[in-house]
């Protein structure tokens, strides 16, 4: 077989995480010779998705340190009912990236204009729930738009007026700097209280919409307002009753794989289980010399390294638990808006201090993404919970408490934990710790694309992520055959 070093590569990309895979997609219609490698045996990097067996075989590279303290637990109770026990390995696709994608994200537009959306199935992120720790009810559904707020009898009229005033402001906050710029570094809670006289329980609801991993005190106005605005203006874009979607079969992992296939269709060469061990910038020849872990050395004009951890002090760490539950938790998937699609994901927010533990205080909020079996991530009759909180010495018991409180509050008597996978994850430049897809990733991709494209990208002869349909979709290719 022809060796990799025989080719003069234009671009070598190391890593098949979401950002690097999107770059491969962006370059897939260029005539560049692209070598795309990953030291893992699987696609997706920090956004990979695994079967149960692949989780067993998952030994995160301790030298990069992205994933640490991986702890696996399996229920070994012997029961006869199918939904009451773990199914076969491949029946599960547990994703390391359960991020939601807001309908306003540019990612969706780029997946459409690059035509790869045809290989993806998007599902709605439906209800949002907030846990109040006192109850009853322990879980309260977040209002899904203005009509919902009007109908909500749990909010008194004065608070309703304040809330409506805030919502009207926040969707247009950019044009009203006089109302918030002086407070931009203040905590969102203080801002909501002093400027809009919102009572504490409405402050919690608004804060929940930011998906902030930080304590309320550190969730500041200038960061929070665009996120609240994004949440509200995303509702209804692709249909009533939801403002975010996820791709079926493992979210970011599926996009990464589909993007890599587009890269391969464009002529890119894919090698897994092969990393870059050394990269030398040979300035005289304007080429990189890349040593691969399979012993080969290749030359390339552009080199996109596997991204390291984000710069020092800003780099955060989150703790996550993935749990398989023996119930559909159907009470979380109520259809509240007429004409809305069946949601595959519900979001449950545990604001700071709502979980009561003996050994720890819950300073940071916990978020649980509940994925139904419609996501293809688990068999029918079960669901997968993805719990996330900012890392602390006690984040594991806090996540455990969130999961058991969630199961208890759904009042689904058949619900039991069958499987949990805990890990800590270090933030990475290309994989920010955010529960919603961060459009800044697309800016990075476009920048890298421009650099690799050189003049073709700059003079407008090639447009970023704007592609024609591939041959094959053309109806002229259809020939009627009779049997």
């Amino acid at each position: 077989m022809e060796s990799l070093s025989d080719t003069k590569w234009d671009v070598v990309i190391s890593g098949t995480g979401l950002q690097h895979s999107l770059l491969a997609l962006a370059l897939s219609r260029s005539d560049k010779k692209i070598l795309h490698v990953d030291h893992n045996e699987y696609y997706g990097g920090a956004e990979a998705a695994f079967s149960l067996q692949e989780v067993d075989e998952w030994h995160p590279d301790s030298s990069t340190g992205t994933f640490q303290n991986v702890t696996l637990w399996k229920d070994d109770a012997d029961t006869s009912s199918q939904s009451n026990k773990l199914s076969f390995s491949r029946a599960y696709t547990l994703t390391l990236s359960p991020q939601i994608i807001y309908t306003k994200s540019k990612l969706l537009g780029q997946l459409v204009s690059s035509k790869v959306y045809r290989q993806l199935e998007f599902q709605a992120v439906g209800n949002w729930w907030i846990y109040n720790g006192e109850g009853p009810p322990l879980l309260k559904r977040l209002p899904n738009g203005r009509e919902d707020i009007f109908r909500d009898q749990g909010i008194d009229n004065r608070a309703k007026r304040s809330l409506m005033k805030f919502l009207k402001f926040v969707v247009d906050f950019e044009n009203q700097p006089e109302l918030w710029e002086a407070d931009s570094e203040c905590s969102l809670q203080d801002f909501l209280s002093s400027r809009f006289q919102l009572p504490p329980h409405l402050q919690s609801i608004i804060t929940a919409l930011t998906l902030s991993l930080d304590t309320p005190g550190r969730t500041i106005v200038k960061w929070a307002l665009p996120r609240i605005s994004r949440h509200l203006t995303s509702i209804g874009v692709f249909g009533p009753g939801f403002g975010a979607v996820i791709p079926k079969w493992g979210g970011g992992a599926e996009i990464a794989q589909v993007a890599c296939r587009a890269g391969a269709v464009g002529g890119g060469v894919y090698v897994l289980g092969t990393g870059v061990t050394n990269a030398v910038d040979d300035r005289d020849k304007e080429r990189w010399r890349i040593e691969l872990s399979n012993g080969e050395t290749v030359g390339t004009k552009h080199y996109i390294p596997h991204s390291g951890s984000a710069n020092g002090s800003n780099s955060r760490m989150v703790s996550k638990t993935i749990a398989v539950v023996s119930s559909t938790l159907s009470s979380l998937f109520v259809n509240s808006t007429e004409g809305s699609p069946l949601a595959a994901v519900s979001v449950v927010v545990f604001p700071s201090g709502t979980l009561h533990l003996e050994e720890a205080t819950q300073d940071c909020p916990v978020y649980v993404m509940v994925h139904s079996s419609e996501t293809g991530e688990c068999p029918a009759g079960q669901c997968v919970l993805y719990a996330t909180t900012l890392y602390s010495a006690t984040s594991k018991p806090i996540l455990d408490a969130a999961l058991s409180s969630l199961i208890k509050s759904t009042e689904c008597s058949d619900a039991r934990l069958l499987y949990t996978l805990y890990y800590d994850q270090q933030e990475d430049i290309s994989s920010p710790c955010d529960l919603a897809f961060d459009d800044r990733i697309l800016e990075n991709v476009e920048e890298q694309w421009k650099e690799a494209m050189g003049s073709e990208g700059a003079d407008g002869s090639s447009l970023f992520m704007q592609f024609e349909e591939r041959r094959g979709i053309n109806p002229d290719d259809d020939n009627d055959d009779d049997y």
Partner: protein, 203 residues
């Protein structure tokens, strides 16, 4: 007459080692073309569409090629999503390509949805002088995996339609398999032009 868009779509994959003749078979079947020059990999072919009627009922075949990802065995799980059938191709004039088939069966059986129809094809039947794998061996391997088998030549057109017609016949006999590949109500259309290629109701 229903428009092509509304026809039930069957997703059929081609897999097998590099140089086995997957693309040649696909292009001969879909476009009735054959390129004598040896090409190492297939660039630019994402999938091919072909209308095929079985017992008077038309189907839209969505035929996917490996796009060179078979070379280092880096086909992704997502390639196999929703596939109703998998055509495994080896070269009858290349012993190694036949020897690799066990691993390709294993990969297909692991990744394809339960009940997906497999079909084994020995290609380059025109190269009988250089034959290294007997038809008997091919037949036995197919039987071992409970699937059908034939030998084809994309060059001479011999048997080119047979694997496609046979596999579609097997797929449409299984209503459960047919409906398993169709999209369900929960899918959100994010594109401006309706849903993707798999949206046709397969009932």
């Amino acid at each position: 007459m229903a428009s092509d868009e509304s026809l039930p779509t069957l997703k059929i994959l081609m897999i097998g080692p590099s140089g086995a003749g997957k693309s040649a078979l696909l292009i001969r079947y879909c476009d009735d073309q054959f390129d004598n020059e040896y090409s190492t990999a297939t660039i630019g072919v994402d999938f091919k569409l072909k209308k095929l009627s079985v017992h008077g009922k038309p189907y839209r075949l969505n035929l996917l090629d490996t796009a060179g990802q078979e070379r280092f065995r880096t086909l992704s799980n997502s390639y196999y999503r929703g596939a109703h059938g998998v055509i495994l191709v080896y070269d009858i004039s290349n012993r190694d390509s036949f020897a690799a088939m066990e691993r390709w069966f294993e990969e297909a059986e692991t990744n394809a949805m339960p009940g997906a129809v497999m079909y084994l094809v020995g290609s380059k039947l025109d190269k009988t002088a250089a034959r290294q794998v007997s038809a008997d061996e091919g037949q036995r391997l197919a039987e071992k995996h409970g699937c059908s088998f034939c030998e084809v030549s994309a060059k001479t057109r011999e048997n080119v339609r047979k694997p496609f017609v046979d596999i579609v016949n097997a797929i449409v006999k299984d209503p459960k398999l047919l409906s398993a590949g169709s999209r369900r109500g929960g899918t959100v259309a994010v594109g401006g032009e309706g849903e993707g290629w798999g949206s046709g109701c397969a009932c």
